[in-house]
Structure formats: structure tokens, C-alpha cells
Amino acid sequence: MKAILTLLTAGLLLAKLQAAGGQEQTLNLPKSIEAGSAFSIEHSGGGEGTLYIIGPSQVLKRDVKAEGAVYFPARSLYDAGHYIVILTQASGTKSGSFDVAPISAPDKLSFFANPSRLPIGVKNGITGAVYVFDAYGNLITAPTAVSFELTSPTGGIQKDHATTSIGRAWTEMDSTSQQGSGKFVAQVGELKSERIIRQVPGDPCTLKMNAQQAGQQVQLQTEPVRDCSGNAIPDGTIVTFTETYAGGQSTVDVPLKRDVAQVKLPLHSGAKFTVASGVVLGNQIGWQK
């Protein structure tokens, strides 16, 4: 009985001593906050110390009093991510962590569009990927509606809609049938990002030449060269004229000038003339002197 009483007394004394020495050290953290919002971290026990909030995108350090709450006003912590919190006091160290989430309002788009120049009429020839960021440059990972729009030089519009997945969305579109500059736009709400896509004529659709004698030569001239949508092929595009005759062949490369190419070749009896540009073969003309 005496031994039990001694033990009880010793236990009570120890409890009293612990109470006098200080409370249990606690650290209450928010689980998650929105970027840029005000928050507080409560702590008790352990005396004065230092509070660290550590992440790759931001670090904060505050002196803390014996107990209470440390207030962080709005815009103290604005980079989304995972933060480690460490409270060091004379009695020891306590740690925890919390997350900072992006705000949901988009503020900036990062729009990758490719290519900047391509032939007309290419199916899925234009691609775009967009990443959506908030005002603090955080990638907004919550699903967000994005619209894509490609405007042709004549005002025709192709549209596509997507919802972001982990901050990004993408699309593919056909180049239009008209040459010229097209606007490629990614839009989230009122927020837009625009790229210019230059669409140039494709290969010649058909190639036709005429021949006319000019003294001892033959003048060959193409009809205006167009692509299959009727767009003029750019000046400088090479047209190849070939003359084949008994015992020989002559080939001349001529750049298009104002939609046509022309050349004079020596006249040989029984010669055959052909014309080509790229992979497109034109008509053939036989000539008898």
C-alpha cells in the first residue's frame, strides 16, 4: 500500500512539473490554400521560435511568439506547389506541409502553334497546344474550356473546342484553300492568344504550254500556273522545259514570272517538248520543221 501511494505521489509530481515546464508543442496548418490568399498558422507550446515555409518557388521565414497564430496577408504565398513548414523552438522542432493551389481564373495563355507557313489544303496541317496560367504564372490544372479558331484570308472560320487536361489542350486544323495569312487563335473566356499562319499555294494543279516558231527557234510559254484551288503559284517557282530530238536533249529551268514561264529553244526537226514543275508533268508538243 505504501509503495502504491509513493508511486501515485511521484506521478502527480511529474504531471505538475510537465505542466509548469510548458504545454505540448502543436502546429496547425491549413491543408490547402489558394494562391495569393491570406492564411494563418497556429501554434502553441514550446516558446518563441522561428517558422519556415519552404518550397522551390517561394520561401518565407517568420519569428514567432510563444503561442498564437502567425498571419500571412494576401499575396504572401502565391506560387502554387507543395510547401514544407518547420517551426523551431527552444523545446524542439515541429514540421508539416500544405499545398498552394492555382487560382481558377485564367490570366495568361502559352500557345504553341506550328507551322508558321504551309501549303494550302493540308489536312490537319496546322497544330496548336495551349497551356493555361493564372495571374501568378501557375499552371491551372483544373479542367478549363478552350476554343480554337482558324480564320482564312477570305474570312472562313474553322473552330474546335477542348477542355484542358492537367493544364493543357490541343487541336489540329486543316490549312484553308485560299493563300494568304490566317489568324490562329486560342481563347479561354475573354483571354486570347493569336498566331499568324501564312498559307501559300500548293503544287501546280495542271501545267500547259504553247509553242510558237520564232525564226530558227521555238518559243515555249506556259499558261498562267495555278494550284488546284486557283491560287497563283509564286513567282520564282521553277518550271523545267525539255526538248528531245534525234541525237540530243536540252533542258532549261525557268522561274515563273507573273504566273507564266517562257523560254526559247533551238528548233530541231522532229523535236518533242515537255514541261514540268516539281512533281507535276505538263503537256507534250511535237514539232515538225
Binding site: P56, A129, F133, L139, A169
Partner: protein
């Protein structure tokens, strides 16, 4: 999204090739859920992983030594700017931090159609040590899911966005 292209599962364990004395993290890679119309070629995948793992080394060195220049090789754009700001803050506060990655579970989730960006998520286990005016304060083991966007630079894939994700913010299925 128009289509989901699944490439073969590549559950590959990589050993980081580096001359550092520090322990190498275990790395697991999964490229079975890449979205986008463009095929993620093996060489591209390997180059992106190499660049990403190297960026952890650069980040660790930069934060430990408070040297912004160590970020130059592996970070670009917003990621580099934010980390450079953090190092500036660390210098002002007299602290250093040491990030030691222990394991990565990298999942490729997007290869943009024009080939100009790769997005991956990484469930990473790492330790963070805080040193205040030369005195080690604490080392905290932690785990976080990072969302990473990489873009090609002159000779490698560089990190443009590196952001830990909140569990409540995650899309379903990822």
C-alpha cells in the same frame, strides 16, 4: 481531346548517370498514357527523362549553394524565374535548402502535336534540409506530385513549368 494514343508501357528503371557522390534516386517511367497525335519516340522520351532528372540535380545544387547560375542549364521561362526569385529570398533570409530526391515515378501524359512541349507528372519522394546561417535546422522527408512541362532548348529538353499539384485539384483518372 480528339484522340488518346497509347504507346507501349515502358516501366523502365533508370539509373541516373552522374558523377555525384549522392545516392541515386530510383526512377520508374510510364509512357502508356501519353495524349496527343504525335508518337513519343524512345529517343525523345529518354532525352526528356535525362533532362528532367538532371534538373533535380541542378535545383539541389542551386538551392544548397544559393547560386542562380546553376539553374541555367536545365530550366527556362517561368520555372527558372520562380526558382531564381526563391534563391534571392534565401540569400536575403540567410538560409539554404537542400533537396535530395529519393525516388521518381514519372508518367508521360502529353506530347504536343507540334513537338514543342512534353508534359509529365512525377510522384517524387524527397528530403528537404533547411540550413539557417550555416546551422542545419531540420530535414523533412516529403512526397509530392509534380507537374512538369518541358520544352526543347538548343541541345536538350529543359524544364519550363515545375509545380507540385494539390490532391484536390487533380483531374479524374490521372
Amino acid at each position: 481531346m480528339k484522340m488518346l494514343r497509347r504507346s507501349a508501357i515502358a516501366g523502365v528503371w533508370f539509373a541516373m548517370a552522374s558523377g555525384l557522390v549522392t545516392a541515386q534516386p530510383a526512377v520508374q517511367v510510364d509512357a502508356s498514357q501519353v495524349q496527343g497525335p504525335r508518337q513519343l519516340e524512345e529517343q525523345t522520351k529518354t532525352a526528356a527523362i535525362r533532362g528532367y532528372l538532371k534538373s533535380w540535380q541542378s535545383m539541389s545544387g542551386a538551392f544548397e549553394q544559393n547560386r542562380i547560375d546553376l539553374l541555367d542549364a536545365d530550366f527556362v521561362g517561368a520555372a527558372k524565374e520562380k526558382m531564381a526569385d526563391t534563391i534571392g529570398e534565401q540569400i536575403k533570409l540567410g538560409i539554404q535548402t537542400r533537396y535530395q530526391d529519393r525516388s521518381h515515378h514519372i508518367q508521360f501524359v502529353f506530347y504536343s502535336p507540334e513537338g514543342l512541349s512534353i508534359e509529365l507528372i512525377d510522384q517524387v519522394e524527397y528530403d528537404v534540409q533547411i540550413i539557417d546561417h550555416g546551422k542545419p535546422i531540420s530535414t523533412v522527408p516529403t512526397s509530392a506530385r509534380y507537374i512538369v512541362v518541358m520544352t526543347p532548348s538548343e541541345t536538350q529538353w529543359s524544364v519550363r513549368v515545375m509545380q507540385a499539384d494539390s490532391p484536390g485539384n487533380r483531374s479524374t483518372g490521372i
